[in-house]
Structures are given as C-alpha cells and as structure tokens.
Amino acid sequence: MRAFTAIVRRELIAYFSSPLAYIVMAAFLLLQGALFALIVGYLSQPGQSSLSILQAFFGGTIFFWFFLVVAPLITMRLVAEERRSGTIEVLLTSPVTEAQVVLGKFSAALIFYLSLWAPTLIYVVMVQSQASVDWGAVAASYLGVALFGALFVSLGLFASTLTRNQIIAAVIAFTGLILLFGLPLLRGLLISSSTLGAVIDHADLWQHMSDFAKGVVDTRHLVYSLSLTGLFLFMSTKSLELAKWR
C-alpha cells in the first residue's frame, strides 16, 4: 500500500512539475468555458428549452474531441518515459509488483484528469443561481465523466507500456480511442448484419454519455466502461512484465 501511494505521489509531482499540465488545464478551461458560454447563450433564446444544459454540455461533441487529443497527452509519459530513462529498472528491482506499478500510475493519471474537470463544477453553481438544477443528472454526468476518464486513461497507459517513445505511445493511444469512439459512426457504412449492428450500438460511447447527461445510469454502460478499463489495466500489467525483455 505504501509503495502504491508513493508511486501515485511521484506521478502527481511529475505531472505538476511539467508545463504540459498547466497548458492542458488552461486549454481545457478555455474550451469548456467558451462552450459553456455558447450553450448558455443558445438556450437562453426563446423556444430552445427542449434540451437540458447538461445534455448540451456533456452530450456535445467537444467533450469527446477534446479528450481524444488530451487523454493520450496525459498518459503517454507514464511508462514510456521510465523505459526510456531506465528508471523502470530501479522500480522493478524494488519489492513492488507490476500490478502495483500499473495501479499507481493509473490512479495518478485519473486524479489528474479529474482535477481538469473539477473547476467545471463552478458552472453548475452558476446555472443554479439562475435556474433550477437537477442534481441527480449532475451526479450522473460527472459519474460518466469519471468512467470515461478511467477508460481513456487505462487505454493510454496500455499504449505507454508498448514503447519507450512518448510520441509513439500518444499515437497508439489516439488511434485506439478513435477506433473505440468511431465504431458506431462506421456502423451505418460498413455493417449490414443486424446482430453485429446491435452489439456495436451497445458500445456507442456517445449514446452512453448522452444517457448519463439525462440522469440515466444504465448498468450496461457501467459494466461496459469498467470491464474495458479492467481489461486495459490487466493488459498493461502483462505488457509491463514483458517490457523487461525488450
């Protein structure tokens, strides 16, 4: 447990001692702020009340596009840099297991991701001062954000165990995320089988997020995100064991 917390702490120090963290944060808040202002302006026009502000904010495309780019930037360093610099050798010759290393790094990246989102809670408070807020839907939306974050980060972490080059790790993670999100978009074009089509419909992360934003916490969505996250963490552990050989 102490080894785990030590790894989390070290990763967080690494995040916040690099300018990348602050640039990502600034860019994120700039884009989210602009989006929020646009949505508020749009919804305050008469006759536009069919959409809730949460649905517009979390179900909107910018949420995904931004994270398709940012998640790989958050995770690319995690293992690739340790392999490049050789610190992995020190870490894995101390009495810690690969699983502890993977979980520590995953937790740190997830904490960083969530800290990007924390300031957006101010928006909710701002909305509440002017209109009623469905707190259940807010909670569901942020649950969705956290679940997706875990999935993004675990995929990125796995990509980072595959190489000692951070850029390659980012490209692999980006490709993986595009595939994960792009699948439902390709459905209409490529797949005629209705069974396979139905499977892909269930894997539609856009739909999942839109449900969370409505306040719907569907167990199937939970299982999907959590099991994929678990799979990527497991593969990261195995890949780290093999990384010593390469």
């Binding site: 102490r2 120090i13 992995i88 020190v90 009495p95």
Partner: protein, 319 residues
Amino acid sequence: MIEVENLSKTYVDTPVVNGLSFFVPEGQVLGFLGPNGAGKTTAMRMMTAFLPPTSGRVEVAGVDLDADPVGLRRQIGYLPEHVPLYPELRVQEYLTFRADVEGVERSRLNDRLEYVIERCMLADVRRQVIGTLSKGYRQRVGLAGALIHSPPVLILDEPTVGLDPNQIIKVRELITELGRDHTVVLSTHILPEVEQVCERVFIIDRGRIVADGTPEALRTRLIGNPTLKVELGGAGGSAPEALGALPGVVGVEAGAGDTLLVEHHPEEDPREAVFRLAVERDWVLLGMTPEQATLEDVFVRLTTADEMVPEPEGAGGEV
C-alpha cells in the same frame, strides 16, 4: 552471501550469459571486468530479479530467485548503469520515494534518510531538484537510493562511467567504504578501478568467467613472473650471464638501449644482489625499475586470445 549456479541467458540463439557459477562470501567486494557486451549487465539484471534467466539458479542472502523473486529484491540494493533517476524530484523526495517502494518502515525512515544523506555526502543538495545536479552528485544520489533499505548486498553496474577524475576518486572511496559492511558486486571495464576497489575479480568474456582471483593473483598467474628493468653502464657482453646466475633470477633478456630485463621469482627481490654484483664488477648502475604487468595486459590477453581461433557462430553479441 551470493550463490550463482550455471546461470544462463539466451536471446533467440545467442547466448549472452553462458553458464555462470560462483559464490561470493559475505563482505567481499567483487568486480566483474569485461569488454562492453560481455554479458555483465545481463548477469546483474538476472541477479536482481529484473530479467528472468533462461536457466540456472541464483540465491542471495539465503533467498532463492525462483521461489521468492520479490524477497530476493529486498536483499539487494541495485544501481543500474547510467544511474536512472527522476529529474523532476528533489533529492530528499527521491530518497523518500525509494524508501517507500523498498518497504523501509515508517519509524526508521528518518534515520535511514539521514544515514544515506550523510554517507553519500548529499547534505548540501538535499533540497535540490535532481535534474539540476552534476553527474557526480547524481551518481551519489543513485548510490544513496540503493542503500536506503540497508540491503546486505549491493550490485553496482558501471558505477563510475561518465564521471570526471575527481568524482571517480570520490565514488571509488565511497564504494570501498561501503565494502566494509556490505557485500558488493560491481562491474566495470576500467582496469585500475578493480585493482583499487575489489578484493576479487572475475574477467568475463562472451558470457563466461575466463579468470577468477585477486587482482594480484591474476596478474602473477596469467602474466608470469615479475621483471626488473636494469640499466647498466660499461657492463659489456658478460652482464646477462652474470645476472642470470643470481639467486631467484629466471631469465635475462636484452631490452631497449643498454637495459636488461631480469625476470625473477615473485617471492624473491633480486635488487640488492644486482647492486652488489654491479659494485663487484665495477659496472655503473644507472637505474633499476621493477616492472609489473597490469591487469590491462591480463585483460587484453584473455579477451582477445581466442580470436585467432574461428569463433563459433553467434557467440558474443551486444547486451
């Protein structure tokens, strides 16, 4: 303290470490000496439970590698080649991190920190960010990290590479001091280093131990007898014969100019006899220098000897 039996590592068909077997008693400072790519790093990585061996057995302080790899890691403080560190951490943060992952008990943490900081002379940089330190300091931070959990065994891979001469001297002194209460295995391709620091040397070539002994024993055994370089004035042609008749002298050869190379038994010192002979014969004794073969000679001889023999396919290879 360290027991290695028939340790081998093969990559595809290339043996990098080829059946190493040895025993290191407690408190010994052992040097792995060999050219780059001889398999020193690979051997160390297997002994520290980083790389799984292809075959063979490793036991450190009674803990078997196969049975308990994590327990074996607890017995070892390892400093990999090039001293990998986290540049964004401060020295004390790094050492605390190492203490946490090495499982140093909370109650002992402060004592251990103070101990390694003092031992490795890091007091004046303890709050400095590692990325801004000089190579000599970084090396000592790496050593301090390896010492933090007071392991009985230290394994140091090329601990002085890339340092300037002053830093090299300091790190060597530190290793010598550490050798008093730790069993130390270090690797190097710098010969004077093993002569100064190690009590015992393995010369490793192509994954095998080609020589094992104290630096002195290796020198004598492999280079033969010591030689005395004698420079005489007005001696004439009878000198070699007369010198050859002295007790303990094995042979006399002509060297450059007026010098004669007198080969003698290692236990006997013929200098006094040479002096008396010169006085008796009225020769002018211009100089007498004992010539010792260095380990360098041993090294070159051992690691290049069989290059004249056609090599088996795929032998050697970079790590």
